[in-house]
Every structure is written in C-alpha cells, then in structure tokens.
C-alpha cells in the first residue's frame, strides 16, 4: 500500500514539474514585460519585478502604433471567422446532405486542397493577389484566409451525424433547402459551429506568413507582423529591448487566451472532431 502511495505522489510530482515547465515561459514573459531593459537582461528569472515599470507598454502604445495593429488583427480575425463559418457550413451541409451531380468530384477537390501545404503557397499567393489587384488591402488579407477546406470537412462530418428526420419534417412543412438548413439544421449544430468559430479566430489571429506576403503598408500591420518585425530587428528593433518585445507578445496572446479559457470545453472537443475526420 505504501509503495502504491509513493508511486502516486511521485507521479504527481513529475506531472507538476512538467506543468511548471509548460507554464514557466509565460510567467517569465509577463514578469519581464514589467522590467527595465537592464533588469530583464541581468535577472530574467525574477518573477516579481517590484516596483516594476510599465515603460514597455507606454512605448508600445505611443511609439509603435500597437492599437492600430490590434484593430487590424481584430478586423481580419472577425471577418475571416464569420466568412469561414458561413461558407464552411453551407458547403459542409451540401456535401453531407444534398445529392447533386458532381458531388464526389467536389469532395475530392476539397480533399486535394487540404493536401496542399500552406507554406508552398506563400509566393504564388502574392502573385494572385497582385493579379487580382487586391494586394496590400483588407480584401487581400481576408479573402484567401476564408478559403478553408478543412473546416468544410469538419462541418460535413458533423452534419452527417444529424438525424435526417428533422429535415424531412421541415420539408413536409414546405420549407425550402436553405430555410431548412438555416433555421432547422444549423441551430442544432451549435457545438460544431462554435468549434469552427474558435478554430478560425485563433488561426487567423495567429497567422503570420499570409500577412507577410499580402500587405506591405504599415497601416495594415497586424499584431503578428508588427511583433515579428520588432523581434527580427526591423524598424524599431534594438537587440536588448526584451521588455518591449515581451510586453507586445503578452498582449497579443491575451485575446486568444481569454477565448481559450471561456470556451475551453469546446476547444478541447474540437480536436476530437478532427480525429474522426
């Protein structure tokens, strides 16, 4: 019995240490955001920077146009999320339920699209945006991100699990296809829709490479491009300004972190959906 107890507490100890390792970088990040450049370099491990300074945050807001970048990130993420959810649901429903000639071809096309690694599209995406004359605009930043074959499949899988009887009742009531989809099937699909929402928001909020190639005007900086530039020494970068960089990184993490904690259950179950894929 005691051996069991020892093993158990050992297990807990190991897990706790591991959890600390996973959390530690974030503690260091937040603590050092409140230090002076010198203190952060000299004593990075001090997790309680007293008295602490908010100089880094002041710089972010007064000299770096952090608010503008945050606004851009928000605009893009919200638009992409709405767009993705709407189109993913429509297409997913059609692929799951509506018999139409060419459905298998369309399904195959979406599968093929999933197989294309996004990084490979980096350069050509710039060329297409250029050709369509939407380079360096919100349109160019948003539209390509709405194209999302994986989300279509998540929704398709979900709709396949919805019992057909509800739709039949609706059709018998005389409702059309869109109406049935919109006011009968969709409301039943709240969990999946919320999941897609969170995944889309998170993905577009954290997106970097697409914004590197789809825009160049500083007015269209997103948080990711701004912080990346800050980090790799462009424009404002000074090697030692870690509090500034860490403060920016901490702030940009905040929205997704909040979303994560509020919808934890959904996020966690989201990946379960992916497994069934």
């Amino acid at each position: 019995m005691t051996a069991h107890l020892v093993r158990r507490s050992l297990g807990y100890a190991v897990l706790t240490v591991l959890a600390l390792v996973y959390v530690f970088p974030f503690l260091v990040q937040v603590a050092n955001a409140f230090k002076t450049d010198g203190d952060a370099t000299a004593d990075p491990l001090d997790l309680l920077p007293l008295p602490g300074t908010t100089a880094a945050f002041t710089t972010l807001f007064t000299q770096l146009d952090f608010p503008r970048a945050a606004m851009n990130s928000a605009i893009v993420a919200v638009c992409v999320t709405i767009g993705r959810v709407f189109f993913d649901c429509l297409a997913g429903y059609a692929l799951a339920r509506l018999p139409f000639r060419g459905r298998s071809v369309v399904t195959a096309a979406f599968i093929a699209v999933i197989a294309v690694p996004p990084v490979v599209l980096l350069i050509p995406k710039f060329l297409v945006l250029n050709q369509l004359a939407i380079y360096d605009s919100y349109t160019g930043m948003i539209l390509p991100l709405i194209a999302d074959a994986a989300g279509v499949f998540i929704m398709k899988n979900f709709f396949e699990s919805v019992p057909r009887s509800v739709e039949e009742a609706s059709y018998l009531d005389g409702a059309g296809t869109f109406r049935t989809f919109w006011s009968v099937v969709l409301p039943m699909s709240r969990p999946a829709v919320v999941t897609i929402c969170i995944l889309s928001f998170q993905a577009s909020w954290n997106e970097l490479s697409h914004f590197v190639v789809s825009r160049s005007s500083p007015d269209l900086n997103t948080l990711t491009t701004l912080v990346a530039t800050l980090s790799n020494g462009g424009a404002f970068g000074q090697a030692n300004q870690y509090p500034l960089k860490l403060a920016a990184a901490a702030l940009m993490t905040l929205p997704v972190a909040l979303l994560f904690f509020v919808f934890q259950r959904h996020v966690m179950s989201a990946s379960e959906g992916a497994v069934k894929e």
Binding site: Y135, D136, S137, Y138, V212
Partner: protein, 410 residues
C-alpha cells in the same frame, strides 16, 4: 417563390460578406504606363529608416520640397525594405523614390526595376568618386548616393586609461593594434570585439591589399585576402579579440556599451546608438590602423533609387537633388548622424562634429564592397563561414568563397 428567394438570400449574404470584409484598401493602382506630364505629382517615398529621428527628418525635408515644388510627397518607413521593394516592383506599382543599398543595386538594375539617372544630376561630380562607383553598374551611374559612413576604430576611454594607455598609443599598425588589444583584455572585457561578418573583418583583408573582386574577376582567395584573415585569426586565437555573438552582444556597439569590449570597429551610426542606449559611455574614434598594404577601410552607403516604373520621374529627380544638396545633407547629419555624400559638405561636417573627424578623414581610403549581382549572396555565405574563423582555416574559407564568386560573376 420562397425557395428561390431563400437561395438568392444565401447568395446575397455571401456577396455581402465578401464585400463588407473587403471594404477599404489601398488599391489606387493607376493603370497603364507613361509619364505624368502636367499637374502636381504625388510622390511615394519608401525609406529603410534607422529610427524615428531619420523618419521625421526625411519627412520634414520632403514636405519642405513638396511645398516649394507644388507637389505632394508621402514618406513611409519600411518594415522590411527589400521585401517591400520586391513586392512593389512585381506589382508594377513601386514607390517612386526609395533607399537602395550598394549591395542590392545590381540585382534591381538587372531586372530593369531601377532608373539610371545619375548622370543627369547637376552636381554629380560633387559626390565622392568611390560612392559613385558603388552605384555604377555596367558603366551606368544609377542613383545618387544618399549619405555614407566609413568604418573606424572606436575606443572606450575609461578602459583605455585604466590600461595605462595614452593618446600616443593609438595603434597605427597591425602590431600596435595587436598589442593594445592584448593590454585592454582583462577579465570580463575583451580588447577588440566586432561582429563576425566580412563587412567588419574584411577591412583587414583590404589593409593587406586584398579584395573580393578585382576588375570584375574573383580574387577572394588571393594571398592578400588570406593574410588579412590570418591576422584576424591570430587575434582571436590569443583571446584579445572576440566576436560580438560570443560575448552575448548583438553587435560591436552593444559590446562596447555594455563594457564587454574596450574597442570595436563600427561606422558613425555608433554615435546615435551610444547616445540613445549608453549615454554614459565615453569613447573616442580613431582611424583604423594601416596594414602591410597601407591604410584601408570600408564604406557603406545607400542611394536614392527611382523606379523605372515611376510615373513621376521628373519630380522624383528634383526631390533627389533637393535631398542630396550640401545644406540638406548637413541637416540630416545633425538629425540622425549620417555623413554627407558630397565633398563640398565635408568641411562643414568636420566643424560640426569634430569628434567624428576620423570617420570623414577615412573617406579617402575607403572602398565599397563589390556591387556585382550575386556578390551579396556570396558575402552572406562567406559571413556564415566567418563565424567559425576562430577554429577554421582562412585559406579554406576563402577558397570556397572564390568558387562561389566565380560562379556568381560568370
């Protein structure tokens, strides 16, 4: 019919979504070529700014010019100049005027993106000849040098005095440099710290008489080049010299400012860097020592490029002439610490900044790095090898570079 209407509604919502999210934009891409002939010009200027001071100064100067010329100018500080230029050229909608480094001028010239206007400038002979050469590709003088800097030896005064050294000890030969570096090396401080790139270490090769390219031919593995790097290796070997990364600093300025170095080799941008980050540092600037082949240093410079696809080339040229005038350059010098690219401003600069005299005095010995297309990639590759110079073989490193250089110059 209800159904059709519902479907239409779905379609309309899609369209709405697409447009609502794509509202604003900066797509005033004028179509068609041709120069603008009448009416005020709207110039876009893209600069690779060193900081707020430079952005402000350039904006002010550009606004002043715009007012007098009746045109309008927008100055934008790039977050990644090369990338943004590449995107501009590819979209046929580049900024009209922009900074171009001497290392990239050839690649932009080779794809036809750059207007060769240098010879049309009124005062083109006032530019330092070696700066003009830096922007001359295949015999064409492409663009007006914006300003320049040379490399000099920057010394921490306190460390210098603490080692019992005086003005008489300022090194003028390689041996003297080696011996003061040795004396300045104590505990946590290294005598000489520079970043490991050829852009710094190469000065010793130049002082030995070496050069990567001579008359269009690759000469990277010449005996002189090897001699220069071997000298650097000898300093590294006895610990009196280290690379910035090895002492945990981003560059020479940071190493000097944080007390990890007693001397470094930097350009006059160090003045602004020290003032903002290490205001308490006392330092002096002296010319680099002479090597076996005499004195030599490197010069770094940008030019005011004008896009071949610009519709406002005439106005752009006027703007550049205003920006490179002697007076304007002295104003820039005061604002963000660069050195004027015209010889007529040299005396004014010496008077205003006596402490920086060594930088401008070095102008006569200064060489620009070769600007042929592809060479900058070879230098980047050489830099990655130089990081291992401490344990590496100079001859071997340079042999590899020679091969790459021959391939690039073919």
């Amino acid at each position: 019919m209800k159904r059709t209407r519902a479907l239409l509604a779905a379609g309309a919502t899609s369209v709405l979504l697409l447009t609502a999210c794509g509202g604003s934009g900066f797509d005033d891409q004028g179509s068609g070529g041709g120069q603008q002939t009448s009416g005020p010009a709207k110039l876009q200027v893209l600069i690779g700014s060193s900081g707020q001071a430079e952005t402000n100064a350039v904006t002010q100067a550009a606004d002043a010019w715009a007012k007098s010329a009746g045109d309008s100018v927008t100055v934008t500080a790039a977050s990644d100049l090369n990338q943004q230029l590449a995107q501009g050229f590819a979209s046929s909608n580049p900024p009209d005027v922009f900074y171009v480094g001497s290392d990239t001028v050839a690649s932009y010239a080779s794809n036809g993106s750059l207007l060769a206007y240098g010879d049309e400038l009124k005062d083109k002979d006032d530019f330092y000849p070696n700066l003009r050469d830096a922007f001359t590709v295949d015999g064409e003088f492409y663009c007006a040098p914006k300003d320049f800097s040379t490399l000099a030896l920057v010394i921490d005064e306190k460390a210098w005095q603490a080692a019992g050294l005086t003005d008489a000890d300022v090194p003028t030969t390689w041996d003297q440099l080696a011996s003061v570096a040795q004396r300045l090396t104590t505990g946590g401080r290294t005598g000489l710290v520079t970043s490991s790139e050829f852009q710094r270490l190469g000065v010793f090769a130049a002082q030995a008489g070496g050069s990567l390219v001579t008359d269009g031919k690759a000469t990277a593995s010449s005996a002189q080049m090897v001699q220069g790097l071997t000298y650097v290796k000898s300093l590294l070997a006895n610990g009196s010299m280290k690379f910035a990364a090895d002492v945990g600093a981003g560059d020479g300025t940071e190493a000097l400012g944080t007390g990890k170095a007693a001397m470094t080799i930097e350009g006059n941008w160090i003045v602004g860097g020290v003032a903002s980050s290490y205001p308490d540092l006392q330092y002096k600037v002296v010319k680099l020592p002479a090597g076996p082949a005499g004195p030599a240093t490197f010069t770094y410079t940008n030019c005011w490029g004008i896009a071949a696809d610009s519709k406002n080339q005439a106005a752009a040229k006027q703007l550049v002439e205003a920006m490179t005038s002697s007076d304007q350059q002295l104003t820039f010098a005061k604002a963000f610490g660069v050195m004027p690219s015209v010889q007529s401003a040299a005396d004014g600069f010496r008077q205003q900044f006596p402490a920086q005299a060594a930088f401008i005095d070095s102008a006569a010995d200064a060489q620009a790095l070769p600007n042929e297309a592809g060479v900058s990639d070879v230098i980047t590759d050489l830099n990655s090898k130089l990081e291992g110079l401490g344990t590496g073989d100079p001859q071997q490193i340079l042999d590899a570079t020679q091969q790459n250089l021959e391939a690039a110059l073919k």
